[in-house]
Amino acid sequence: MSVEKNELNPNNPFLPEPARIVRMYPLTDDVKFFQVRIADMEKALAFKYCVGQFAMLSVLGAGEAPFSISSTPSRPGLLEFCIRKAGTVTEALFKLKENDLIGIRGPYGNGFPVEKIKGKDVLIVMGGLGVAPLRSVLLYCLDNRDQFRRVILLHGAKKPSEMIFREEFLDLKQREDLECYLAVDEDDTKEWKENVGVVTTLFPKINDINPENTFSLVCGPPVMYKFVLKELVKLNIPKDQILMTLERRMKCGVGKCGHCAIDYIYTCLDGPVFTYWDIIHMRELI
């Protein structure tokens, strides 16, 4: 159990804190970007989280759901989320406007073990909405670039139009301190200049991986893990240096409602970040 409690409302962890939508705009047809600030300024500045943690967001009348925090703690004050319209809560979120109020609780979950990753090579592999939690890591690495060695990014999407933060990532390719490779399964625009193929076709592009000194962070749709894990094992990256962040149904975020239970652990307390060893050790993770 590695949760460090940092509650907004210590007397009642279920009590949502009002937060204001500062900016929102579409990233793709069904994904929107939300920038949020906790309304109480003191609480907004005191809100501490680590990369890979999540928060519960709520809309009055629609309910509450867990969302990965996509911003980095290295830029405090504002919280960012990439949200796909998929259910009741997200539909209600999409109907809101800038300056509207939502509820927020958190941060929850273990997050990525940043202290362990410092000084190492970082290989980020993401597909689709997997960008939501991993953008936090990427921005953190870039903001603290001298604390990490190589930073390698492999990002896959179905089509160019479905690549979340496409322009940002294309810009990142210009950076010399980042090895950034992008792929789409299918190019329906005929204007895509990057790789075409699934995200695993990007692996041959990365050279000279020093596996003992590499942490790989992976997030994507369930189908992606099997193939990506195979590639990472081929690279000889140790199983406990391959980290994944998983999605589960959650109604509380604090280990009470039971929905995210896997084996004898709760994704909200012991996860959502798990190692490849955890995946082998415990059933049902992926």
Partner: protein
Amino acid sequence: MRVIKLSKENLFPFLEVISEKTGLWAPVRKPNSGHVFKEIDDFAQIDLDYTRTILPPKKIFLPPSFNMFKASKNNYEEDFSHVSPKILFGIHPCDIHGLLIMDRFYSYVFDDPYYSKARDNTLILGHSCWPDENCLCKSTNTHIVEEGYDLFFTDLKDSYLVWIGSSKGDDLIRVKAELFDENIAEKDIQNFIQWREERDEAFQTEINFSAMPDLMELKYNDTLWEKLGDACLACGSCTNVCPTCNCYNVHDKPALGEDSSQIVRCWDACTLENYSEVAGGENFRKKRSDRLKLWYTHKLQAYISKYGKPSCVGCGRCIATCPVDINVKTVAHTLDGDKVDSFWNRFHEEVRK
């Protein structure tokens, strides 16, 4: 711990004086169905001659459905209306152990105020019991209690031995100390020893719980689970009646025509189909057998690995309740290699034909 004596004719006078200002809950017989814990307005309703209530006492602390918040646009008002001072009388050792497991669970890392406030406001007055064919509490070692109660009444035919388990329990005794006898005679001790021996011999069912974590692991892919999946009705009854099942759901109940909502928390069950379904339709446990595996992992394996004892307290409610014979007893016996002539074995054969 201090033990004192109460003669049987003094029980109701005692309950009467302590429940003057506090709601008294006790087992009551419900015609044609069984016993239930109910708020008492007439002592004649109390029926201590019972084995198990239909629902465990968890319903008193976290009702099947209650409001967490009354919410308007930017204001969430906490709603603790399910919390009121209560005395829970007549609760058996297995259910006290159930509450101890709940206590640990609801305070783990984050404290759940909806549970802990209700728990802090309830006095637990336990009562001894006699096993029937479905009681497993000797196997789970929950047929005796050493903590988790304020007072505990052991029924020795003419009188009670009353165990004082807390400072609050001691306060209750002091309200009407003259009803109690401080002197426990040698004969009372002999009676107690005899009662305990006879009670311990009355158990008809045994499960080797310490073997279960390994067997769950080894038989994870056993055809047993397929048989259970075929027969299970996914009705959620086993979870509703289990004293250590805690899963719940939360939903908003918007008020018509107003900008306000009630945030409602209600019991959920891991055996229900949409339990693990996330937005967008991905369901991590679509198969009934997978959901049953989760339930039995929690009852027979997970807690044992973590705390050295099962999260099953041996109350026998799943045995008494499941319409298709899927319960801790039949599953554990099958895992242990016994040939169990159970509904689901026969049903599976029928289905496979």
